[in-house]
Amino acid sequence: MTDQAQLLPGTLDLLILRAVSLGPLHGYGILLRIGQISDNALLIEQGALYPGLFRLVRQGLLKASWGTSENNRRAKFYELTAAGRKRLREETDNWNRLAAAIGSVLAAQPEEV
């Protein structure tokens, strides 16, 4: 548990969008998917996930529908809307640019400065 990284503020939305972009998921499924692709490196508080989901639904980036889960339970499934897909692309680009910039700053050697 201790080597899990804290999420940077604002990145939860991005992770949710990304997780859902691979196919409709319910809330718990999103947690599992993020854990799976990140190799359990990211810590997401279970309670904190849902407000994020509701916010994204309200912003029209996700849409929700009730269905049955693989465990045969009634669950709410989330999937990306067109706006959500667009937002994911933008946010991913942003993130990459930011990460690259910060990475290059951190990697800079004294003689290059």
């Binding site: 319910h26 279970q46 849902y50 309200r58 465990n71």
Partner: protein, 884 residues
């Protein structure tokens, strides 16, 4: 679009609350089940797996709350929640609620009423198109708005700044529509009046400038809507009908629209007639007298693009020409402009000052009320510190708790505001139809409008937030742990707290109000008991204008003598006298006078401007005006004998140089005629009660006849019986003569109206201020005593005497009281200067006023501190210590 969507979402969220809630619960529960399924698969028992899943999930309620917020439901919803909670809290403490709502209702109601009057008289322009470019022309340094007709015509024809200049005069007139003659009020206006103001007729047509062809050439009348409605029952056939004005035929041309009630804010005529017919209306023709400033006002719209300054310069150049051309009649002709509603700045300024002062005081009352409620709220927040601490401990955010407290405050203020507004609407409606003086068309339409409602709402909200903000710091500093452990945090601060400042402010406000109302009441009392120069007790007034019955010239005094003689023989009547215009009746006629030695009779050389009365020989005796020297008039002082006058003491010492040697001396009138002074009488009040001693002169009616007349009937008989007798006697003299009978004291109501209104309004505000102070001091003293009960008990146990206990318990409250009172007294003394214009001899440098204020404030303190003091003294150390 986005906003609308968001709102729709939020509102939908409120209405679908239960459904959303269920879905949310379902979803969160499914999540926990899924997690438990996984844990079960890893080997845990189902019950243990579910327990672990729940723990891992964390704060369930909080997650739910946050989901709600994220879904957009919380804001509107939590406002509803707060409201429900606030209502419950307020219902639970009805005493607090009633006091708070009542306090605010009074304070906001007072503000709404004062603002309503202010709005009607000052903020709302008179009801004409484009009121912002409409100006009245003021003359001279003392900004008189009255002008002479020839001057008006020169101003109208020579100026290049105004679209047109109109003029009007107000006069009483007898109207006979076929059955009964009655008195009415008319505005004599220039022919261009309606066209210049841009008023279209409601019915028929108006007269125009082109209808004027010299004196008495335009016998037309235009009715006000109200008069048409009341006297012609909305009969559309009145156009073209002929009515008798002072027994002269006038044709009704039309009716004005209902919203146009003339060009003064508080005087409303019954109809309009052309000013060129002045002789028929008033019995005299002054249209050619350049020195007689009988026109009430000259007004007009500025041309587009002309500034006030340009217009004044334009008028002043005409003024310079007039001064040069007519040095005998026209004095210093410099001009300024003002808005016409309040008949110029000479009256408008004091009204504005007084109303602004009143508004300020009302605002201070509201501030004091807020201070009071703020203290109450702070005390309640302290009492509720446990509730607040528990909520904080359970994870409620301070913001949420503050919002709850603000909701309560605003709810109270809105309810209070609504109640106050309701009361003020009733009061303002009553004021709007109130005619303070039955015989005069004086009336202020103060019906509240949107602006009044808006101000009331704004004040309510503002005061809610103001007093709601008082406990904020207290809540933010609440340490939940400490409070729950040890009960309320009773820190006895030695420092000056916000509450102390609020209390001092409130007491100061109250002292200002008490000071001003005492000054006003004292002034009014002095006015009532000052020497008027006549004795209004046991005297009836019969007001009549013989011109209304068509009498003119030499017939006038003959008829008047007949009336005097007829009334004098009524049994029980001691004497009857006649005066053309009663003293103190809406100002006095006046004329400039010169010493006998003056030869160049231009206005600048005048010795004085003296009040002028035309009286019958019996008047001075009947009015009980004391003759100091010489003689009164006789019926032999007529046109065939030299002109004589009786003057007052002030006139004698100012113009004749001596009271004792004044009789027999001469002085000159503006037309050059010499007048011999035959008698000297005591000084009196002529134009207003607040005036300083003024020179006055009396002429015999046979030498200067006047169609206007007030007959003074002195008798000890019962007023009602006497009235009946006078009525039948007057009927016998001339059945077609309109007249009105009242006691002289009733007549004086007009003169006393302004000081009375001022005194009443200040008195009401003063009482409100006093009430607020009492509750404020009471609250503070009670709070201190209850907080320090234990300490007081210990002091008593250690042998403190009652005075020392009281000193400890209430010393602070009384120090604040003394400080606030002193500040308020000082401010009140400053504020009273404004009062001096309205109230006779309103001076705060009056030992009775100063003593009264100190006494009143001390009494307030005593009343307010009585119960807390009793409580402090009845502390039983034993009981207290046992309670611990």
């Amino acid at each position: 679009m986005k906003l609308v969507d968001s709102l729709r979402f939020r509102i939908a969220a409120v209405f679908h609350r239960s459904q959303m809630n269920a879905e949310m619960e379902d979803e969160l529960r499914t999540h926990i089940q899924h997690r438990a399924d996984d844990l079960e698969r890893s080997g845990l028992a189902r019950a243990e797996a579910e327990r672990r899943a729940r723990i891992e999930f964390g704060g369930y309620q909080r997650a739910k709350e946050e989901c709600h917020e994220a879904a957009g439901g919380t804001f509107v919803e939590s406002v509803f929640q707060d409201l429900r909670f606030a209502l419950r809290i307020l219902r639970k403490s009805p005493g607090f609620t009633v006091v708070a709502v009542g306090t605010l209702a009074l304070a906001i109601g007072a503000n709404a009423v004062v603002f309503g009057v202010l709005n009607a008289l000052i903020l709302r322009p008179i009801n004409v198109p484009h009121p912002q470019t409409l100006y009245a022309v003021e003359r001279g340094n003392d900004k008189a708005v009255n002008h002479s007709y020839p001057d008006y015509r020169d101003l109208r024809d020579r100026n290049r700044s105004f679209e047109d200049l109109m003029a009007y005069n107000v006069a009483g007139v007898g109207i006979d529509t076929g059955n009964n003659p009655s008195g009415a009020w008319t505005m004599e206006v220039t022919g261009n009046y309606f066209d210049g103001l841009g008023i279209p007729p409601y019915l028929g047509r108006f007269f125009h400038g082109s209808d004027e062809h010299g004196p008495n050439s335009a016998p037309y009348i235009v009715l006000t809507y109200a008069y048409w409605h009341a006297h012609f029952q909305d009969d559309r056939g009145v156009v073209g009908r002929v009515v008798q004005l002072n027994r002269h035929p006038f044709t009704i041309l039309g009716v004005a629209p209902p919203e146009f009630r003339g060009t003064i804010s508080f005087v409303f005529p019954d109809f309009w007639v052309p000013i060129v017919n002045q002789e028929q209306i008033e019995g005299v023709n002054m249209l050619n007298e350049r020195g007689t400033h009988f026109i009430v006002m000259v007004l007009g719209h500025l041309k587009p693009g002309v500034t006030q300054g340009q217009a004044i310069a334009d008028l002043n150049s005409i003024g310079a020409y007039l001064e040069k051309t007519y040095p005998k009649d026209d004095g210093h002709m410099i001009f300024s402009l003002t808005h016409p509603g309040l008949t110029g700045d000479w009256l408008g300024d004091p009204i504005r000052e007084f109303l602004t002062g009143l508004m300020l005081l009302a605002g201070l009352i509201l501030l004091a009320a807020c201070a009071n409620l703020g203290s109450l709220f702070a005390a309640r927040a302290a009492d509720r510190s446990k509730e607040i601490a528990v909520r904080l401990a359970l994870g409620s955010r301070p913001r949420r708790i503050l919002r709850q407290l603000f909701t309560e405050a605003v709810l109270i203020s809105l309810i209070g505001g609504a109640v106050g507004l309701w009361g003020s609407i009733i009061l303002l409606r009553g004021l709007s139809v109130w005619r303070p003086l039955p015989t005069v068309p004086l009336n202020v339409p103060v019906t509240p409008d949107v602006r009044v409602y808006g101000v009331a709402l704004l004040l309510s909200l503002a005061s809610g937030f103001l007093f709601g903000a008082v406990p904020v710091r207290q809540v933010l500093r609440t340490d939940a742990y400490q409070v729950i452990k040890s009960g309320s945090t009773g820190t006895i601060g030695r420092r000056i707290t916000v509450r102390d400042l609020l209390l001092v402010l409130q007491i100061a406000v109250c002292a200002v109000l008490v000071t001003s109302s005492l000054v006003a009441v004292r002034g009014l009392m002095r006015s009532l008991h000052s020497n008027f120069g006549f004795e209004p007790q046991n005297a009836m007034i019969v007001e009549t204008a013989v011109s209304m019955a068509g009498y003119k010239g030499d017939n006038v005094p003959i008829l008047q003598k007949r009336m005097i003689d007829a009334l004098a023989v009524i049994p029980g009547v001691q004497s009857v006298g006649l005066i053309d215009r009663l003293p103190l009746y809406y100002g006095a006629n006046s004329a400039i006078v010169f010493t006998d030695k003056t030869t160049d009779l231009r206005p600048a050389n005048a010795a004085a401007e003296a009040a002028m009365y035309n009286v019958s020989p019996e008047y001075l005796g009947t009015a009980r005006t004391t003759l100091l020297a010489g003689r009164g008039f006789t019926w032999h002082d007529d046109k065939s004998s030299p002109r004589v006058a009786v003057v007052n003491r002030e006139f004698a010492s100012k113009i004749l140089g001596s009271v004792t040697n004044g009789t027999g001396q001469y002085y000159k009138l503006g037309d050059g005629s010499r007048v011999q002074v035959v008698g000297i009488v005591e000084d009196g009040k002529y134009a207003s009660l607040a005036e300083a001693p003024q020179p006055a002169m009396f002429f015999p009616i046979l030498q200067s006849p006047s169609g206007q007349a007030g007959l003074v009937v002195r008798s000890n008989r019962d007023a009602q019986q006497l009235t009946a007798a006078i009525k039948s006697t007057m009927h016998d003299v001339d059945a077609g003569l309109p007249f009105e009978i009242k006691t002289w004291n009733q007549e004086l109501d007009a003169a006393l109206l302004a000081p009375r209104l001022a005194t009443i309004s200040l008195g009401v505000l003063g009482v409100m201020g006093a009430m607020l102070s009492i509750t404020g001091i009471f609250g503070m003293a009670a709070h201190t005593v209850s907080k320090r009960l234990k300490e007081l008990g210990i002091r008593m146990a250690l042998g403190a005497r009652p005075t020392e206990v009281l000193q400890a318990a209430l010393g602070r409250a009384f120090r604040l009281l003394a400080f606030g009172s002193a500040a308020g007294l000082f401010l009140g003394v400053l504020a009273s200067r404004v009062l001096a214009f309205i109230v006779y001899q309103a001076t705060p440098r009056d030992p009775i006023v100063l003593g009264g204020v100190v006494f009143a404030m001390a009494m307030l303190g005593l009343v307010a501190a009585w119960i807390p003091a009793q409580r402090a003294l009845s502390v039983s150390p034993l009981v207290l210590l046992r309670d611990e």
